[in-house]
């Protein structure tokens, strides 16, 4: 049995370098961790009760820069789409499973204090033991989930 995908992927490495540079920019310029779940999660999480909680987040200086960062992400997505509409292709996951997965990712990344970017890139890049444990945990949970879906033959 051999790999059917090439082991080395230059696009993946180049994209990773861009992600690392974006994270370093936010760290050095603004003293913030480029963790998507933390940045966007705090913003979305303060939507309820509306509008008091959102107003408090903005009053604390934690709203505007998060909104602007999110606008940057969206502008990046639109740029990618203009360049190649196939930059993101769906996998064909059914609606109920998308809902379950999205809920798990949203709740889990907030309770888990970060996601692939905050723990996996910035946390490991700062040699934070907590983030190294966190990354190992979500990776192992990911490996186990995919294996279980395969073994049980679930069509999701």
């Amino acid at each position: 049995m051999t790999l059917s995908y090439p082991f080395f992927d230059a696009h993946a490495l180049l994209g990773g370098i861009l992600i690392g540079a974006a994270s370093a920019l936010l760290f050095v310029a603004n003293g913030r961790i480029a963790g998507i779940s933390g940045i966007v999660g705090r913003l979305v999480g303060s939507l309820l009760p509306f509008p008091g909680n959102l107003r408090a987040t903005f009053a604390a200086g934690e709203g505007m820069w998060r909104l602007v960062f999110l606008a940057g992400l969206v502008a990046g997505g639109l740029t990618l789409g203009a360049w190649s509409p196939e930059f993101s292709t769906p996998r064909g996951t059914s609606a109920p499973w998308l809902l379950i997965a999205g809920l798990l990712v949203g709740t889990g990344t907030r309770i888990g204090w970060g996601c692939t970017s905050g723990h996996g890139v910035c946390g490991i890049g700062r040699f934070s033991p907590l983030s190294i444990y966190a990354t190992l945990i979500f990776m192992v949970a990911g490996f186990a989930t995919v294996a279980l879906v395969r073994i049980l033959g679930l069509s999701i």
């Binding site: 861009l18 998507i36 940057g72 997505g77 809902l99 204090w113 033991p129």
Partner: protein, 159 residues
């Protein structure tokens, strides 16, 4: 302060670069992500994500070591928003990461790629992102609970 033009411009540029990096790396294709997480067969395993992590972690670590030794960030008064590295991980944080990993393995999206893919207005990333947003609100709703709370606000100073 976090509302200064410099702070906001770097926030925008960082978000933009981040999204471009996700697109160039191919992480906006959930099939590639699930392919990386599929270690049940060497023929199905897609190593691409490994190189994204290598490139991102190495670039961030080097730039932070070279440029992060300043007494304060360029546009912020101190390093107070950078959490102090912790040697231990609370149980609820472990649980949160398990939930995240299961959701990631099921659909192949983590928060960044989901948001960037949602700009295609495709029903798959849109539905996932809407559910994820609901999850963010649920986590906030659980946050008064002492064992399912959000990270402490105002972390300890110094990176």
């Amino acid at each position: 302060m976090s509302s200064s033009p410099g702070f906001l411009v770097t926030s925008f540029v960082s978000g933009l670069l981040f999204a471009l990096g996700l697109g160039v790396s191919g992480m906006t294709h959930p099939d590639k992500v699930v392919g990386f997480l599929d270690i049940t067969s060497l023929e199905r395993w897609n190593p691409a994500l490994l190189w994204v992590m290598v490139g991102a972690i190495a670039t961030f670590a080097v730039l932070r070591l070279v440029l992060g030794g300043r007494p304060k960030p360029v546009f912020a008064p101190d390093w107070g928003h950078i959490p102090k590295p912790s040697r231990t991980i609370p149980g609820k944080v472990m649980l949160g990461n398990v939930l995240f990993g299961v959701g990631w393995g099921l659909a192949g999206y983590c928060p960044g790629p989901a948001l960037v893919s949602a700009t295609t207005l495709g029903s798959e990333p849109l539905l996932f992102t809407a559910a994820m947003a609901l999850g963010f609100i649920v986590a906030e709703w659980l946050s008064p609970s002492p064992w399912l709370g959000l990270p402490p606000a105002g972390a300890a100073p110094k990176p």
